[in-house]
Amino acid sequence: MAKKASAKSTAKKTTKKTTSKKSNSKKIDPKKQTVESLIELIRITSTIIPDDVAKVLMKARTQEEQNTTASYAMNIIKDNMDLAKFKSQPLCQDTGTVIFFVYHPPGFFQNQFKESIKKAVVEATKKGYLRQNSVNSLTGENAGTNLGEGHPSIHFYETNKKEVEVKLVLKGGGCENVSAQYSLPDTTLGAGRDLEGVRKVVIDAVYKAQGKGCGPGALGVCIGGDRADSAYAAKKQLLRKLDDKNSISELAKLENEIVETCNKLGIGPMGFGGKTTLISCKMTHANRVPASFFVSISYMCWAFRRQGIVMDSKKNTIKKWLY
């Protein structure tokens, strides 16, 4: 349900970032163009906060009291957004886990596309849009390419659209480290197997994160599923635009309630104390087995790097930006 909402709301807007210069010149080799389009997607994702997020952050900035450390932090955040865009350099040096979501028509060659993604990632790393950020967990080796076991993270979905849509999230380590998974019931929190229990554990996760996840943060939450699917579905909620509305009314209500309550905690930007602790909460659910009840929380930092493109079905140029 969440995906539908986001697809609908992105249909209206086309302008914003220009497509790369290569796209409107000479003859185009579609394979090379795919790589070029993906590099441009990485560049924009790493350097520009999507409009829906920027809007909420700028509003939060005006709400902090002047001359406090919180407003100081929010001003630096704004300056950083402007500067990263102007210089076309990463918003944050932790360019994160590189996660691609590819929505494609039937008969699409996934392996070939994977190769294009890898080429784009290597190239984007050379250009400095991505830090050398992938480390072998056994040897500690950093190959400097951002390629390796499981990296980049790529997920394919078959759709019945003619065009390929690629969404990208760069998920930094600081906010990933404060992401959490709870198993209900949780006796220490008095959280049972119901939405009230869910509410409690989500707020607890925000409390526990304090400033460590580079707040003000944004949450993706999944209620249910097994441990792995639940965590993944929570993360996928980060693809939703901040101003969309959950089609499930109980969840829509809970999303708002969690944001409101967390902003009463007084943790504030960077944990300095202040009014905005959370800028959004997006929730979904998945079936579970009777014995399990997991609640997964994916915490995203203020440097919410998410973008998406629709590619031209023949030329593979960027036809439209999704956020």
């Binding site: 944050c92 040096q93 380590g173 905690l265 504030g268 944990g271």
Partner: protein, 189 residues
Amino acid sequence: MKKLSYPFSPEAVRELKVGDMVLITGKLFTGRDAVHKYLHEGNKSPVNLKNQIIYHCGPVTMKDKKTGKWTVTAAGPTTSIREEPYQWEVIRDHGIVGVIGKGGMGQKTLDACKEYGCVYLHAVGGAAQVLAEKIKSVDGLYLEEFGLPEAIWELTVEDFPVVVTMDAHGNSLHMEVEAASKEILKTVI
């Protein structure tokens, strides 16, 4: 807004209090997980850190192909709490007078700050461009074998903006905010 200028000293940092917004001008040395583990294991630092500030940061760096010169293109702080097991000892053994990072640190580090004269300075996480702008030169690269984000980079900065969140008098903004938010938490869940 306060200023902290090079050369740094334990006396100068003892003047700083929690909540102070400070602009640093002078030298910084980056050091994160690999460096702290290395120093904690008793290895000698490749550069003298006495009265220096260590910055928990793994920058994005680019080498000019022609001149071989390095520039730092993104340099925000990384989460400091991972260095909690090591930091107090690095402060004691190497005479560090400032630690820049994000998210704050724990009691051990707070105690070391008080005992040896050191402060924890919070940079705005994610503000990699604003902070990289303040870097005026890259003066050295040590322990490159740890990988570029994990190496020690010697940097000269001008008006580098931070907030004192742990001072040399035993105060921690992180502990204050956590305690206050805990009280509120009790009323909402």
